[in-house]
Symmetry: C2
Subunit: 207 residues, 2 copies
């Protein structure tokens, strides 16, 4: 059995376009014969480093109004339900820690999709530990045990390291797709191109 | 002969993604049976109103590095030549005035494509009146006459009014596509969706 090329899928739980990408990536990756690594991280520290105190969609109202309308259209195209979280952005710190802590048992993708669905399809508060506990139980996981591990020092340090890696690799938004050879693709719109690049395809004339 | 629906194509001469959209829009619009209105405007005053002194690609270096790589890939996909203008962004004020002044004689699309090609395929300085004069001559237009009219008070006021209309309609970047019913699409990536909307198509479940 040959080894599949790997695509790193960097996402942030508060991010609308990450919701769309998380809903799409597995079927597309299967078709492209690419293996996806799910990499939750935090945009907050990256935004803060460039002087932003919240999401650009809040800082720049015209940009924000457009984003919501565009997300509504994109969700409709994909047949995905959409509610607008209140407040926006939601704080995704706890969810990111839990998602990271589940990597070894292979539960990160399923948990990630469950969080995005709770947040953007059902309007639930993903910063609320009770919501996260309920999602873990629904997935058949040891909810209290996972929660305790996720809030331990090791996972906290790991999430900080992941976020620092994202920053040093030049990530500025989410979702971001990174190939093994360092090619960066930003946004749900670039998912197909990122998978094709990971699989070895190159746009005309590029190497 | 039935009247075709109209799509407003708002673009800025310094904008890389406007270059791609300008190269693609006419063939796509013909296929969608949509009429395009070419509407040059200035992003500078809109950026300045939100506190930006230059393009976001310069203000946020990680975003800028990504944009150049993405544009390189997109140009390769489309088979379009690409050089990086120096300095970037170019000052598109003169080109925008000339493009606007050519509307009545129907020469705006051809002139616009010529400017984008000079800027992004040949690396010429589009703020230089000699470059604009040369492009006008190559198009068989009365170059000195056009240039004089473009720098008159009427055209200057018209460009200010166009830019103010863009701002009040919520434009925050370029290219932006606006349908007759006020639907906004931002970016070369949304060109196909904008044309489909203008032609009456709606994503599943939307009205």
């Amino acid at each position: 059995m040959s080894r599949r090329p790997v695509l790193d899928f960097w996402y942030e739980f508060s991010s609308t376009y990450s919701y769309l990408a998380a809903a799409r990536i597995e079927a597309l990756a299967e078709g492209a014969e690419v293996e996806v690594r799910w990499r939750p991280f935090l945009l907050g520290p990256i935004f803060a480093a460039q002087g932003w105190t919240t999401a650009p969609f809040n800082l720049y109202p015209a940009r924000g109004r457009y984003m919501w309308r565009d997300i509504e259209r994109q969700a409709a195209r994909l047949g995905l339900p959409l509610v607008r979280p209140d407040p926006f952005p939601q704080n995704g710190l706890l969810a990111a820690r839990v998602a990271l802590s589940l990597r070894e048992q292979g539960a990160t993708p399923a948990f990630t999709r469950a969080v995005f669905r709770a947040e953007f399809a059902e309007g639930r508060a993903i910063a609320d530990p009770a919501v996260i506990l309920a999602l873990l139980r629904e997935l058949g996981l040891d909810a209290p045990g996972v929660m305790a591990a996720a809030q331990g020092a090791a996972v906290k340090a790991r999430l900080r390291a992941e976020t620092e890696e994202a920053r040093t690799r030049g990530l500025f938004g989410a979702p971001t797709l990174l190939t093994a050879d360092g090619e960066m693709f930003w946004g749900n719109d670039r998912l197909e191109e990122a998978l094709a690049w990971a699989a070895g395809e190159r746009p005309g004339g590029m190497r």
